[in-house]
Amino acid sequence: MRGVRPAAVIALLLLLPAAVPAADRPVVRVGSKSFTESYVLAEIVAQVVEQTGEARVERKLGLGGTGIVHAALASGEIDVYPEYTGTIARAILKEPAVTTVAAMRARLRERGLVVTEPLGFQNTYALAVARSTASRLGLRTISDLRGHGRLTAAFDPGFLDRDDGWPGLRRHYGLELAGVRIMEHALAYRALAGGAVDVIDVFSTDGQLAREAVALLADDRGFFPDYAAVLLARRSFAERLPRTWAALEQRLVGRLDTATMTRLNAEADLDRRPFAAVASSFLGGGAAAGARRSPARELPALTLEHLALVGVSLLAAVVIGVPLGVLAARRRLLGQVELMGVGVLQTIPALALLAFMIPLFGIGRVPALIALALYALLPIVRNTYAGLVSLDPQLVDMAAVLGLDGWKRLAWIELPLASVTILAGIKTSAVLTVGTATLAAFIGGGGYGTLIITGLALNDAATILAGAIPAALMALAIHALFEALDRLAVPRGLRTRATATR
């Protein structure tokens, strides 16, 4: 059951382009993690749901990693997303010994979740070598690497650290390699093709495997755990929409072998085809074949979303932060505690703060706005406090002598005198928030970050820049806007340079 949260209602009233639910057809919310394969699978799921016609679909794609997307499923923010058996056992159930889907299903049932049978392919770590190297040295399995100690390797940082990565693999097979370097996964293929390294770690469905002259080495001694793709869903969804659930099982379970998934990943990753087009061609629609993604078309909508994120969160931060700053200036002891609290908030990495919001407020705009507002507090509170405590004491004393009591003194004298400092704090927050708001997309908050995380997933610099450059321009525009606002909001007498006339 998905209770109506008061915060969600407020957000609905606040947010400009809030979608009004069309008719009363049930909704299936499809989620995904933020990497290519997850996007493609989620898009396939979404299209199958749409084609079944029982419900309409809301796409909540690119929800960061397992932690975020699974929290979203657990709290009912999404109904279904693609997952892997190894991840379910290790990260969700935290029982690595559970390996069969049947055993997982029993345990997930207690949590109100269901899981399909495997879709067909495995996405697990694997080792790869250039095809030329493989044929020259006769390498077919990982065991074959033994005795070739002169080979060099480049491994992803994650693979190098994890016990189910290189350290465990090395022990399991008794491997020795001449040199092991750290290299981002996406760059490793180029290094391999260029002959800079001999062995790299890959995911077994990487799109590059379909295109490059690369040979996978078989895990002949069964080290890597099973990462069979499945769909993980809420039981309520499967029970509420049985026809849709049946369609998903019928059209996807056992239908996606490794070669197929690798090809789909290559279409999205290397050919830059939109996820929707890749999904639709797999499902036999064949629509929009060859069409390339066009971030330009999404920009106006994303700009509005981003502006709404920045505007609403900044407004909230001002409404909360200025009074907190005043309070801190009035009650010095409380003030120190308060400033420390706001400061600690700032030390939480923005992404972690966003993740903390999920159990409390779910995913989407509301938690993103709350996290952004909290993040924008520090400069505003601090500058309001600093502006008020550094006022000329003679001017403050004079206000008391002139008969201005607390509120009048604050509104007529202290805040106007401190306005330059306070506005500087708000300006700092605004510019920072434009940047931080790009992270909102990780919890489905929308905005320019949507392009950035899609671009990161695809290792596509153009898409990343299509999000990053407008964000930078928006930061500049907001800076300019505040310069203009300075002229309006700062009292004239504080701007006039002393033009003493005698």
Partner: protein, 260 residues
Amino acid sequence: MDGLRPAHRLSAVIVVSGVTKRFGGRAALDGVSLTVEAGTTHVLLGGSGSGKSTLLRLVLGLAQPDAGEVVVDGVRVTPASRAEIQRRIGYVVQEGALYPHLTAAENVALPARARGWPAERTEARVTALAGLVELERAWLDRHPAQLSGGQRQRVGLMRALALDPPVLLLDEPLGALDPITRAELQTQLVRIFRELGKTVVLVTHDVREAFVFGRTITLLEGGRVVQQGTFADLARRPATPLVTEFLRAQAPPPEMTAYL
């Protein structure tokens, strides 16, 4: 000097008795007593660090004495009575302490506005005060930064007089002015004090100002009263050699006087 002022019923408006005020370990004021009669001008004379400004702050209730008491108009100054005391006092400080974000007129109108006067009444009062300090009304629409030091000081005085308080406290009101403006304003202040019959306490380090303004003078040094009396008392019957030294230190050398 007495002959210049209208005769008033002599009654003590400000009574300071045995006041001590410490900041950290240092006594800014150490057992100071003085009495100011209604309608007279009393000068607190002393060098920097003598405690004269601190004494004004105690009279205003902006600080509390560690020992002794201050009574204004028969009411003891405490945090509780402070607001009531401040209503009877106009306060002028060096450079005026005008609010830079308000125009001169808005600065003057501030005490009236705080008490909810109707706009016409406030405006009439501002115009009348401009006449009193001989400041053209047009200047009042400017911000303090656009006024000269003398004009700012006049605006500060107007603001202190806005509610027509019986008592005026002035802390180095002429301190930041050039000699010519200073002389003009000095003459003007003497006239205004006489016309309005206010009870005035004026803080200065300038012996000449003390001579011009003060019916009675308290000479302070290191937080203690060195001598109290008229200028003639201090000059002719100095309590200690320090008094003579203080008075002479600021006198022009005789060779110079010969030229003037």
